[in-house]
Symmetry: C2
Subunit: 282 residues, 2 copies
């Protein structure tokens, strides 16, 4: 493994992966409005953290850089799911966001009906990409199972439902942890564990622990980044519940726990997973 | 094969299958609003035509009645997908239907946000059910592939997008046929072909032809049933395009073509598939 730094890995793989995503959607989706709406959000400036984490795990397990393309379908499926969730979350009767990363949200650009369908299209196509990948059937099936479990009504969708139906009251710390776990951590955990499955790595509890801590750290960092903004005021977030300082300490502890977990990992090169944790120090 | 009549088959299998659907969702979905909203539409009086067609194919291929339960996960997945599509289609910025089968539509009962999420939950859980089924991995993978292809942005979702973006103009006959094929026929076709795959039947072109004719006949019958109603007036339907009589003739021809196709089928008992065609004579 030549690349030992996650930023470097990200920089190296991203351009080819971005091109893959756009080309594949362009080739497959013939309905013009649907294709445009799907591509609009896929190319709206996301950092591709989830698929890059998945590919980083595959790479850490010994796959060469030039062979990583074989895992792009599965990594792409994870990004399709993440993108669909953002489109539906932004809808007027959900979080009601007109902008995302400085661009109009999907429903402001295409209308609510098309945005719902663009989301439905991305979500369903994710499973098509996995089914059509060239990996072993058992690996593909594990990817379908983990992704559907963690992104569906036992995971991410459940978290979003709790979020929109509980906005009028303050959740307690345990409830908020469950919400964050489902809404954000579950898809991150899926990306990491799917990577390990696809690379043929015998999944260790250490890697699963790492994934869980990283996933939760993700949402806590997000809460901190948004803290004090107008939209943030009524939301169920850790800084609103326990204060900024205690939340910052919480984030440091999660990162430390993630580090300790991955350092126990015996079976693959830990460099990328360790260096990914720098993400939370920005 | 003791049951040779589709209505009898439907009557025999439905109670157990209905119970299976409710119990499984109740057991799996812990988020209370999400569980309620998913169950509300699952139990809103649907006839389960798609899963019953799938199970009828499995039965026709030689599976005993008492062994059919092994295929309920996959049949259930098809019903989850169908149900999600109804919830999203009814949304205000889609077809804007306040009622379905005499009951409040999902978003009128639970709100638009929860209805979007109930749909997302049903759609994603469909793939989880397939992944967790006890059938051979290769059969499960075929089910994922066919379902995602036919229900997603290359099939049903594309049809719905064409429908909501073209409502202001009259499609021509070819465009309307494509719309109906994607919006309705593709999921029916999926149900029949998945049944054949899961039963280990070497899929013949005859059965695929049958499935395609039956799927289109479904939407044409639906168009005829709704013809003359207030909501129907502006819609792209065959009666609005070519008149009621010509549409009735079209339906008769589709049923005849379906019959001719399935009669060529050599490898399984054709009785149920033939008797299913009575559905279009009501």
């Amino acid at each position: 493994m030549d690349i030992k730094d996650f930023k470097k890995f990200h920089e190296t793989v991203l351009p080819e992966f971005d091109e893959f995503l756009t080309n594949k959607i362009n080739a497959e989706i013939k309905q013009p409005t649907l294709r445009d709406a799907m591509l609009y959000s896929i190319n709206a400036g996301g950092k591709r953290v989830r698929p890059m984490l998945m590919l980083a795990v595959v790479y850490s397990c010994g796959t060469k850089l030039e062979d990583l393309y074989q895992y792009y379908d599965i990594a792409g499926a994870i990004e399709l799911i993440h993108t669909y969730s953002l489109i539906h979350d932004d809808l007027p009767e959900m979080d009601n966001d007109d902008y995302r990363r400085g661009k109009l949200s999907n429903h402001k650009k295409f209308g609510v009906g098309p945005a719902v369908l663009a989301g439905d299209g991305l979500l369903t196509q994710a499973f098509y990409w996995i089914a059509k990948s060239n990996l072993d059937t058992s690996k593909r099936m594990a990817a379908v199972r983990i992704l559907a479990h963690n992104a569906g009504p036992m995971g991410m969708v459940a978290g979003q439902m709790t979020d929109i139906t509980k906005e009028d009251r303050q959740l307690n710390e345990e409830e908020l942890t469950t919400l964050h776990k489902q809404k954000t951590a579950d898809l991150i955990t899926a990306a990491i564990t799917i990577g390990a499955f696809c690379a043929g790595h015998d999944l260790s509890t250490h890697l699963v622990e790492y994934a869980n801590y990283v996933g939760l750290a993700f949402q806590v960092k997000d809460d901190l980044d948004d803290f004090g903004s107008e939209e943030d005021a009524d939301k169920n977030t850790f800084p609103n519940l326990i204060g900024k300082d205690a939340t910052e300490e919480k984030l440091r502890n999660l990162v430390k726990d993630a580090l300790n977990a991955v350092l126990k990992e015996q079976k693959f090169d830990k460099n990328l997973m360790v260096s990914f944790l720098d993400y939370f120090k920005d």
